[in-house]
Amino acid sequence: MTIRSSFASFAGKSTYWLLHDVLHRGGTSLPGKIATNIDPDILKNLAQDFDVVLVTGTNGKTLTTALITRVLREKYPDIITNPSGSNMIQGITGTLLTAKTAHNQRPLAVLEVDEANVVLITKYIKPKVFVLTNIFRDQLDRYGEIYSTYQKIVDGIKLAPNATIIANGDSPIFMRDDLPNKKFFYGFNHMDQSADFKAPANTDGVLSPTDNSILHYHSITYANLGDYFSTTDDFKRPQLAHAVTKINQLHPKFSNFDIDGTTFQIEVGGLYNIYNALTAYAVGRFFEVTPDQIHHAFESNAQIFGRQESINVDGKDVTIVLVKNPVGANQIIDMIATEADDYSLMALLNANYADGIDTSWIWDANFEKLHQTNIKNVITGGERYKDFNVRLKMAGFTDQAVYPDLNDAIDAIKAVPTKKVYVMATYTAMLQLRTHLLEQGYIKGRVTE
């Protein structure tokens, strides 16, 4: 380490100590920022001590990173990861700066990296593995288009040609470039493979990269993910190294399924979470974690699914789920559709920066499908309650109660005619609701993740 790096590291660690032990505040971004200001190359020096697994994509990064960490810990005790929200360059610098490792072996760092920050990171860090989850439309007001998001990731991978790519094989966008890296793909193989159809019209990213024809599918899990193929040439889904071979049961609170013939259960609903588990399985197998060990890792996973927690509000069983884009919302709708009991839906919409400032996406989500579920009552709220109110009204849900002030929302929950309540909320709306739940004693601890 150079003198400059040493000083940068000292300054960053001191800041972390001040924030964490003296002021009792979390956060790794400020220490990272201070260290980087002193030595822009600090990240390169810090990362030399780690084998890095870089996880990126638009949806499911946080949970996938947590699951991968859990799986790898079965075999590798010396492992660090970045806290959710610290997925830009300064947060990652701070994570590595303040990591406490035993150094019995070369430690692993499982890092969730924001899509647009991949190239900034790989300028300094050469990961051992890239994990690519998916690319869906997400806060495009920030990054533009799915292809430019993809390009940013690829630009980053090109700086690390020796890294292995473990990618979602069901996502056609990851096959646009023939990168020299070694690659493994994972996907779903549990459905009939003889069908031939196109994705619904409202699906993004369905053009074949070879000739821009519209892709066909043998099966679709959701959105544009599935066993795709071209009818004009031989472009098709790549060979899968690991696959979901059977879905045994879908439930709002758990999923039971087979990967490569072995049965697994995760204590969270939603098909998208099976993808997250499959990703962790594929990464685990790459690092020679056994299926038995992975099974063990998945068994003790309940607390890491924090974004989909259940809360008891005076006898109401309230499940809060985060929504931020149409693909995610459709997955939540599908998850709620597995609810066997009558339920009420509270839909909360804000449009602050962290939510995405454009609310148009709610019109791409298939709220009409809720009519096929056990929904009994609809409540809308949040700063942009009017948008959600009209969206659901036009989906055929008249007579909605409306709660612009989320302080009143808890009373609304108590008053619904069903025991079960699903709250679908954007990020800052969720935080606001949690603040009120905390104030009224229904949850404990801190509001932020």
Partner: protein, 237 residues
């Protein structure tokens, strides 16, 4: 005799490629209002390689897309361009958003400088901006009706009208067509072009009712649609 069934047949132009910001919501809104006066709204996707016969449709939605998809759609659109122009010249109503709006004009320049030809159904054109985009909430006022419209704009293109078209509104808040002349969108015959997401017909019920009436009067001229629609409450937010 059963009561006559009225319907509006919507062509969703390139709906599987030009579908970036909830544009399908415009059809949801149209259907929502139409149902209230007993009119059925059906929609059909018209995409790469599909025929478009102007006589088979009463309304069209041409949504926005990403530059990439838009560059694929543009050459295919030339194939049905004359029929789309015939639909427009016969006063067929179209709501054209963002990329769809641009492609009905003479040309547009993509972010990377590539020139893409439109079908010249309107005498408008779209330049690019080097590095910035117009992003944010937007409010406009239609100078003829005095109505205000709300939306969200997110575009790189800068569109300019000729003296053959009118703007959909004058910008109150936001950037509009090009950030310079205070115009937002276009009205040409029964074509309504705009950069508004939101989508425009969901957030601006008055405009949705106006376009629905245009479609119905054109198809069923002997019915008093104006009185029927007078009892429908438009959503506006």
């Amino acid at each position: 005799m059963t009561e006559q069934q009225y319907n509006v047949r919507v062509a969703h132009l390139y709906g599987d490629l030009m579908n970036t910001y909830g544009d399908y919501g415009n059809i949801i809104a149209l259907r929502y209002y139409a149902q209230q006066i007993g009119v059925e709204v059906s929609d059909q996707l018209v995409s790469l390689g599909d025929d478009f016969n102007a006589d088979n449709f009463d309304f069209a939605l041409f949504g926005g897309g990403q530059d990439y998809e838009q560059s694929i759609v543009a050459p295919d659109l030339q194939r049905i361009g004359s029929e789309v122009r015939r639909f427009i010249e016969n006063d067929g109503p179209i709501i054209a958003v963002c990329g769809g709006y641009q492609l009905l004009g003479n040309y547009f320049i993509m972010a990377d400088g590539t020139r893409v030809e439109g079908i010249g159904a309107m005498n408008i054109y779209t330049e690019n901006q080097a590095t910035t985009r117009f992003i944010g909430n937007v409010t406009i006022k239609n100078p003829e009706t005095g109505e205000e419209y709300h939306g969200f704009e997110n575009h790189q293109g800068r569109t300019y009208l000729s003296n053959q078209e009118r703007p959909l509104g004058k910008v109150v808040i936001g950037n509009g067509n090009n950030g310079e002349d205070g115009n937002e969108g276009v009205i040409y015959r029964n074509v309504f072009g705009t950069y508004f997401h939101g989508p425009i017909l969901t957030r601006n019920g008055n405009l949705a009712l106006r376009m629905l009436e245009l479609a119905l009067v054109r198809k069923y001229p002997t019915v008093d649609w104006h009185s029927k629609l007078a009892n429908v409450t438009p959503e506006f937010f």
